[in-house]
């Protein structure tokens, strides 16, 4: 250990030591090892380096925000849900396995469900929109999207889906997740996910083609 004294001034000791964590002598983050896997970073976090969570946050904040925003429907709730998601992660004591993405999405999903449970009026609105849909055979994608739908129309149609269908549609198309990954997140069977996806897509197409015909 190096030790230096200069009069009564303060001096550093241990200047050449290996920097452990947390340690930021240059005032910058030392968690920027972006080549590390999410699992590696989480292990560092659970070993006590609180700053490692910021790396995870930066990797996921856009997707998790977009997920919450599409599920909850407004910016304020989505922002709260994003923060709540990472606050819940920060309170965890450990993480086993290597499916970090599924784990984070599952926490976000639970946060969003908590928000939605507080909104009884929203659920009844969804049921109403479901009841009023024409029960005709679902149009094909080609029929729907040949009509130049706007992103705004698509967003509104997604928000009109029942919650369980909206969850899988958002997970599927926001991050291009495969159905087994959605199974991991929702912790339901593959056939359940596939059923909800199919129903969600059909309903979405009906809503979109209905809005064009009106």
């Amino acid at each position: 250990m190096k030790s230096t004294e200069v009069g009564v001034d303060l001096v550093y000791i241990g200047e050449n030591e290996e920097c452990g964590t947390p340690c930021h002598p240059d005032g910058k983050m030392n968690h920027e090892a972006m080549e590390k896997t999410d699992s590696d970073i989480l292990r560092v976090f659970f070993a006590g380096d609180q700053g490692a969570l910021e790396t995870i946050f930066r990797r996921y904040e856009v997707r998790i925000y977009a997920y919450c925003r599409n599920i909850l429907g407004n910016r304020e709730d989505a922002e709260d849900a994003l923060q709540e998601t990472f606050l819940r992660i920060s309170r965890q004591r450990s993480f086993e396995g290597d499916r970090v993405q599924a784990w984070i999405y599952r926490i976000a999903l639970n946060v969003c469900r908590s928000h939605l449970r507080k909104r009884a009026s929203r659920i009844s609105r969804e049921l109403r929109s479901e009841d009023t849909l024409p029960q005709t055979p679902a149009p094909t994608p080609a029929q729907v999207y040949a009509k130049q739908v706007t992103e705004n129309e698509v967003s509104k149609a997604i928000s009109a889906l029942p919650e369980i269908q909206r969850e899988v549609i958002v997970l599927k198309y926001l991050d291009h997740l495969k159905t087994p990954e959605i199974v991991d997140i929702l912790e339901v069977s593959l056939s359940t996910v596939e059923g909800r996806l199919r129903q969600g897509r059909e309903k979405l197409r009906r809503i979109l083609i209905g809005s064009k015909e009106r």
Partner: protein, 243 residues
Amino acid sequence: MNRLTCDQVRDNLLERWLDGGLDPETAGSIRDHVESCAECLQEKEALEAEAEILHGALMRVAEERRPSLNTAKVVNISIVQPLRRRILRPVWLGLAASFVLAMVFVSWEKIIPTGTNDLPTVELASVEAKPGDQVIIPVRAKNLVGLCGLKARIRFDSRFLEVQAGGESLGQIGVKGNEITIAALSADGWRDSDGIAFKLPVTVRQTVPPKTVINLEIVAVDVTDSRNIKMEASPRDGSIHIL
């Protein structure tokens, strides 16, 4: 390729294949079929186009986030006022912690008045910050007149803040776990009865929820006569050694 097979493919299997839910053998059969069937290929391309449209619509909302982050959220960092300690020369006043007396909120960089007696005190100002901000928390040691050494230990929540250890114009800042140690030593005496100002640089973590109040708690303040004292400070581990 017969019609029935095309119906089967387009009825269910094509979407399940694109969703990634089929076993490799079935997925291979669908791929072979699509590559040799113009109509099913067209259907596949329509599904892929749909996926891109949905992805675009779902991601569009992410663009709105940055402006709201910069304007909507505030983190208050509170003030905690420590117990005061008398100077007992030349020995340390002791390492036992002084605990919180009061918690007060003030506006940006406003120092709280603490009375007029001559006892040494250390005060933290409060600041408002947004997640991700780097801010300076003003620390003021008052009534340190003469040849003094000062050491203050401040507890913080590392889930919310990152503290930059290192040299400061008046001394050193060390960080270990959830505790900051500030150490300063006067070589020729502090004469400013208004106290000495110390700058504590912190970064508010991005993960801090909105409207969070982050408490910085001064747990110990030790003041000593600086004559014949040498001090070593390690910003690496927060330890301060008096020789």
